[in-house]
Structures are given as C-alpha cells and as structure tokens.
C-alpha cells in the first residue's frame, strides 16, 4: 500500500497513513494538499518524508472497522486491531511460531519502515539503541524531563495554576515526550496534558479538521507516523482523543492509553452523561462538567508512565503474608451492608485485597482497568486524607452508563500507613451504612495489628527488592501470572520489585520502561506477535516471554550470557512459585448481601442510580 498521492517535492513532509483504506484515493489530491498544509501545524518538526508502510503489513486486518466493542478491551492490552493479540489467545489461534525468535530473524515487512523502531534483534544494538540514546540525550533538554519533573512535583504538591501556564508556542512544550488532547466533535478543546486548552484551540481545530475530512470519505483516521512522532486518533462517541508521542510506544499501546483517558472521563460523567450533554448542545464546553478533573487525567497519564499495571492490564498487589491477607479478606466479608457491591483495600496504587458481592461476581468481575481508574480517581482526589468521601463513580468496563456510589476513607493514623478503604454501593443513600462498615474494618485492623504489618517497608509499604530472588544477573522484572486459581473471575495481577540500582533515577527508570513498552509492543504486535524475545540493548539485556501460564519481562545486566539469563529466569520462576501466596491474591473473598431494594446488578446500577 503505497501512497497514491505524490509528495510535494522538497517539502520533506511525512504523510498520514490511514486505516482502513478501502476507498479509492484518486480525486482526493486537492484535499491532500490541504491536509499537507495542515500537517505543518500539527507536526512541530517535519522531518524527511517517510511513508509509514506499516498498515500494509497488517493488511489482513486493515479494514477492521473501529468496532464499538473496541472500547471494551482492557486498555493495558495492546491488542487493538490484531486478530490474535491477546496473550491468552496466542497458543490457540496464533500462527505457528518457533518458541524462540532467533536473533537476527528477518524483520517483518512492518518493520521495514525506518520510521518505526526498525529493530531486529541482531542489529538491535545499533538501531534500537540509537533511538534510545537519542531519548536519553533528549532528556537533558529542558523539554523532556521537565515533563516528568513537573509531574512528580505535581503529585506532591498539586498547586492549581502552573499546569495551564505553559507556553504552548515554546520549544519546551513542543518537545514534550507525549501530548494528549481531548476535544469535542465540534472541535472545542476539552483537555490538554500540557498547556492551556484554550490556547490550543487552533491546533485542536486542525485536528478536528483532519478527523472530519477523513470522515467525509466514510473513513476514519487512526494514526500518522512521522520520523520521530506517532500521532494516534481515537473517536469515542462525541469525543475525539489525540496522542502525539515521541515515546517508543506502538500506536496500539497509545490507543489503549487514549481509551484509558476516555474511560477516566466516563468514570466521572458516565458515557450516557457525556452523550446527553452533547445531544442537547453540540458545542457544549465539556470543561464545565469536567472542571477539576484535569488533574485526575494528568495523574492517570503520569501513572501510565510509571506503573507497569497500565501496560500489562493488571493490578499490582501489595506483597503480604497470605494468612494476614486472608484475615483482611475475612474482615471485608464481615463488613457488608445491603447494596454493597465491591469492597477494596488499597495502599496507594497497590491492591491489598478486594472482595466482591457474589451476585455481582456472577455478572462481571472487577476489571483491572476499572480498578486503575478508581484508584487513580481516589488517589488524585484525596490529598486531603481526613474525613469520609462519598461520590458517584462510574466503572466504565462494568457499566459505562451507570454510577456506583463510592465511599472512600483512609484508615488508621495516616502517618503510619496510608491504607484506603473503598466501598462501592449501588444505593446513593447508603453513606451511613457504609460508614458503619468502615468502623468494623477499622476496629478489625486494629485487632489484627495491621499497622505493624503494613508499616514494614520504607514508605510504609512492604515491598521487595530484586535481590530477594537471588539471581545476581537479574536487575528488574515484571511478572504477570495467568495460572491463578479461579482464573476467569480473578483480577489480573502482576508483581515487580522496586526500581533499584541503575534504575533509581527518574530518567533511567523511564528508559527501562520504554524498553518494556517496546518489548510488549513486539510481543503483542498486531501483525506478527512473538512469544519470546531476547533483546540485547546497550545498557542491559532483556527477555520478554509469554506463555499460557505467565507473561514475563526480565531485565539483566548487559554482560549476561544467554544461558545465564535462562538460568536466572528459571530461578525467578521458581521464586515466584514459592512466593505466590504472598505476592498475589490467590483466593479473592466473596460475600453475599441480601438483595434489599436495589439488587446489585448491571442493569439496575445503570439508570436507576444515574444522577
């Protein structure tokens, strides 16, 4: 699929690539010229003209329309358009593959394009690392790292104001690693990760022009690749989301992130709520309703950069001795009230334990994406940790059109340990009943001596270092098991050690994450998924491996031999097996609440509770 339209000579522009391309393009050239002009504004630094040939490679699935069910995928899983992307489905319907992809295997056609990280493992040293080197070099520039610097600062001290003060015409703004924009179909700016949306209305207008121009041909723009940036477009109902990224994330991964942003908006307003306001008034300024939620979106996007849970579509559990976790679970089972659907104990973004109402469980298990959104919402809104919060919250995966009522309270003296109780009810009058549940949990925690157990680690969280595994070559890993008991009802979980040693600094951590993102993108590539990647990078060696039992990303020191790495992985797997009761929630507690008034079920929680 090459571009049927000619590049204007000498402009050095890159071309948008559109999926699906089932329309003829002749006679569109005038339009494309217009687009070309528009793109000048969009892509801050036009580089050499490169036509992304990637879409051609996934030609098999190319005309796959952006099905509405799209939104129902967990956003950590980058399996947006691929037919066999999901790790679970791989061994059954994936094409037959060698278990290990030999180093230096011929690059797939999709990797021919130099725009995308044209990596093949053999030459990975050169091509990939050049790319990453540039990344690290860039990090010296004010633009890039100020992004992360900013955010951590924002995390500690969420001051209103500075977020919007950034000059959107400045180089610093342009060189941000990743931009995310949300706009309405009418082209009204709703959210920008950096800078004031208002100041960006012209840019957003251009984005909308692109989207609607393609739409006018019964088509949908999905992504644009330039030399160093990937632009991903996603339309969800009346909202258009755009990511402009310099990270090595694949378009599918970016799309998942955009789905996450959309889901977070939905978690505050519900999908029906969003649709309703735009039905009433197409040019509605959604910021009025979202006021104050920008920072929730900021913290979601920050989280996606520092929490592998978003990438893996799984939740990180706080490592705890199994008997202690069980007694916490029993405590949650005891502290129930009618209409209670979910009880969650969390420490920051780590799950301590979660219990679910049986009837609700029959219907649907708690989705990790929903839990991420919920914990993000709670975390971002409770800088003020006193008092008890009562708020309507929508879990988009569970039911995008209905509200739960969330009772949120921090337990104990929060200087010791910040453990947070979240109770989700279908009854909006249940505040006092749930406050009663909280008292039971609080007393129970005291009786269990929870503060002693939970305050074990440094920041009040018991965590572990990679040295616990006892494999000296191993520096870091992400492990997501699939072989949990009661799997189909389980919340997907993962575990990983603290970032230590070489990855203690923000910029190195970022670099490692970029590598993980890259490997994840390759494992779950739409056109040619892999099972095993052994990747020698400049400063470390990585191994990514997906089997029916687990998904693993391991990072070794750069001098490890292949057999050394395999040895370390064996050791790691053995260690995980031994520790799994501590690392994961093996048997999530359930309870039954008498179905009083509102039987908590999917339909009920929808409009009945809608505000």
């Amino acid at each position: 699929m090459t571009a049927p339209w000619p590049a204007r000579s000498g402009t050095g522009l890159s071309w948008p690539h559109l999926l699906p391309l089932h329309q003829g393009h002749s006679g569109r050239q005038a339009g494309w010229r217009k687009l070309q002009a528009l793109k000048l504004c969009l892509l801050p630094k036009p580089r050499a003209a490169e036509m992304e040939a990637r879409g051609g490679a996934c030609g098999g699935s190319a005309p796959a329309p952006e099905a509405p069910s799209d939104s129902a995928r967990p956003f950590g899983v980058a399996s947006d358009e691929e037919p066999s992307g999901g790790p679970g489905s791989q061994e059954s319907c994936g094409p037959p593959r060698a278990d290990e992809e030999v180093q230096g295997a011929l690059p797939g056609p999709e990797e021919g394009a130099p725009t995308h990280l044209g990596v093949h493992e053999l030459s990975g040293q050169t091509s990939l690392d050049k790319k990453y080197n540039r990344g690290t070099k860039d990090s010296g520039k004010p633009g890039k790292m100020s992004g992360t610097g900013d955010t951590s600062q924002r995390g500690d001290l969420p001051t209103p104001g500075p977020r919007d003060d950034e000059d959107v015409t400045a180089e610093g703004w342009r060189s941000r690693r990743k931009h995310v924009f949300v706009l309405s179909e009418a082209g009204k700016p709703i959210y920008s990760r950096y800078g004031n949306e208002e100041a960006l209305s012209a840019t957003m207008g251009v984005m909308m022009a692109l989207v609607s121009f393609i739409q006018s041909g019964d088509n949908a723009i999905r992504s644009i690749y330039s030399d160093d940036r990937t632009l991903v477009f996603l339309q969800q109902g009346p909202l258009v989301l755009v990511a402009v990224s310099r990270t090595p994330q694949s378009a599918a991964q970016l799309r998942c992130e955009l789905l996450g942003v959309h889901a977070q908006i939905v978690s505050v307003l519900t999908r029906a709520g969003v649709a309703r306001v735009f039905e009433r008034q197409r040019s509605y300024d959604l910021r009025r309703l979202l006021a104050g939620s920008e920072r929730i979106l900021d913290s979601l996007l920050d989280g996606a950069e520092r929490e592998p849970g978003f990438l893996l579509g799984a939740v990180r559990c706080l490592p705890l001795p199994a008997p202690f976790r069980d007694s916490l679970g029993a405590l949650l089972q005891r502290a129930t009230a009618p209409s209670l659907a979910f009880s969650i104990l969390a420490a920051g973004r780590h799950l301590v334990t979660a219990a679910q109402e049986r009837a609700v469980l029959e219907d649907c298990r708690l989705d990790p994406a929903d839990l991420h959104l919920l914990l993000n919402l709670v975390g971002a809104s409770s800088a003020f940790r006193a008092g008890e919060v009562w708020a309507p919250v929508c879990l988009p995966r569970f039911n995008p059109d209905g509200f739960f009522y969330a009772y949120v309270s921090y337990l104990g003296d929060n200087t010791d340990y910040a453990i947070c109780l979240v109770l989700l009810s279908t009854d909006r009058e249940a505040f006092h009943a749930l406050a009663g549940c909280k008292r039971i949990v609080e007393e129970g925690l005291q009786a269990l001596g929870a503060s002693r157990v939970l305050a074990g680690g440094g920041v009040g969280l018991p965590s572990y270092g990679v040295s616990a595994v006892g494999a000296p070559d191993l520096r870091h890993f992400l492990y997501k098991p699939f072989d949990v008991p009661d799997n189909y009802r389980q919340l997907p979980q993962f575990t990983s050690p603290e970032m230590e040693g070489p990855y203690a600094s923000e910029c190195e951590r970022q670099r490692l994450f970029d590598l993980y993102y890259h490997l994840h993108g390759r494992l779950h590539s739409p056109s040619r998924p892999l099972r095993l990647i052994y990747h020698v990078a400049e400063k470390e060696t990585l191994l990514a491996w997906v089997t029916p039992k687990f998904e693993l990303y391991a990072c070794f020191n750069p001098l490890v031999t292949k057999s050394g790495a395999i040895h370390a992985v064996t050791k790691l797997l053995r260690w995980v097996k031994r520790e799994e009761d501590r690392l994961f929630i093996r048997y999530p507690p359930k309870y039954s609440t008498a179905p009083v008034r509102h039987g908590p079920n999917r339909t009920d929680s929808a409009l009945e509770n809608g505000l």
Partner: protein, 214 residues
C-alpha cells in the same frame, strides 16, 4: 472521624452532645475544603477539588454545652450537585462560601442562598456567608461592604476568613455553633440525640425527586 472523637470525648458524660448537621456550599475552588481542613487539622495545603462530598465530624464545647458538628463538605463542581443535594436536606446550618477575589463566586453564593430559601424555612436553618481568601486582598473583587450588605439584607451571619492564614476560621464555625445553640434553647433541645443519621422521611422524598443533572 476516629481522630476527632479521640481528642475530644464528650466530657460531660451526663449530657449527650447536641448534634448538628452543617453543609459547606459554594462554587468550586473558593476554599470550602480548606476551611474544613483548617478547622479540623488546623493546617493548610493546596488540595485537589473535592470528589463528591466529604464528611467530617468535629466536637466542640461552647458555653458549657458539648456539640458535635457533622460537616458535609460538598464539591463545588456542577456535576456533583445532585449528590450533594441529598445531604443538604435536614441540615441545621449552611456555610455559604465565596472567594473575595472572584466576583462570580459571590454571585454563585447568592444563588446558593436562593436554593436554600426554596428548601428551608428561615427559622429551620442557620446560614452564614463566608468571604474566604482575605490573603488575596490585592486582587479583591468583592468588598467587605458588599458581602456585609448582602448578608444583612437576608439576615445571614457574615464573616471574612482566610483558611490559608488561619484568620477567623474557627470564629466562623463558632458563630454558627453559637447561633445553633441559641435557637436550640428556644426550641427546647430537639437535636439532643446520639446520632441522627439519615432522616427516613427525607429519604422517601428523595426517591421521588429525580435529579437529572450529571
């Protein structure tokens, strides 16, 4: 909550505390949560917008009577109004907060007053108008006189505060408490009960009223 009960046990065990429900109302980012935070923790920090509403209790002793204030700190954001309305019913006192450096928030506070007027009889509820953020004197948009004039015309209590500088915050709550006590003594102590959570009659009424906002 545990914390509050921990440090001020109702001393006079013979006497159960008066329980009053107080709601904080006003447009977003005028400092409602900061006022509550100042009262409860005597601290100030930049905080994110409130999600839904937050509930606190604060024990107080005033003129020899023990009071328990159940404070509902509501989100100023439009989308949460319907949820907050639930807790606005049955309130004994309302604190209408505006930002002295934001004229618009003053108008909103007036609108909140109108809503209260529709829901309550004047003798049912104690209302105080609070102009917050006196630390922003330089960018003041609402004069002390304007605030005072509105409060007087509607027979509201009035005070200007700064949660940041801890200026008159406790005084504002005490003024409310004192007025509540005064009215209580006139009526003969109906609020003196252990815990009056949700009024069930009100709950039944809430069902019928359909709040269709988002």
């Amino acid at each position: 909550m545990a914390l509050v009960e921990g440090n001020t046990q109702p001393e006079s065990a013979s006497q159960q505390p008066y329980v009053f429900k107080v709601v904080l109302l006003g447009s977003s980012s005028v400092g409602k949560s900061s006022l509550a935070f100042r009262l409860i923790k005597n601290d100030f920090k930049d905080i994110l917008p409130t999600l839904g509403c937050a509930f606190f209790t604060q024990m107080m002793e005033l003129d020899g009577s023990a009071l328990k204030l159940e404070i509902w700190d509501t989100a100023g954001q439009e989308k949460y109004h319907s949820v907050c309305h639930l807790y606005f019913r049955g309130a004994n006192a309302a604190i209408l907060v505006y930002d002295i450096a934001d004229k618009d928030s003053f108008h909103r506070a007036q609108n909140w007053w109108k809503e209260l007027e529709n829901e309550f009889q004047p003798e049912e509820i104690v209302v105080i108008l609070v102009g917050n953020k006196t630390d922003l004197e330089d960018s003041r948009e609402v004069t002390l006189e304007e605030g005072k004039a509105f409060a007087e015309s509607k027979k509201l209590l009035f005070v200007e505060t700064s949660a940041k500088l801890n200026y008159q915050v406790t005084e504002a709550f005490i003024a409310v408490a004192r007025e509540l006590l005064r009215r209580e003594e006139q009526n003969g102590g109906q609020s003196r009960q252990r815990s009056p959570p949700v009024d069930l009659k009100e709950t039944a009424r809430a069902r019928k009223v359909k709040c269709c906002q988002d």
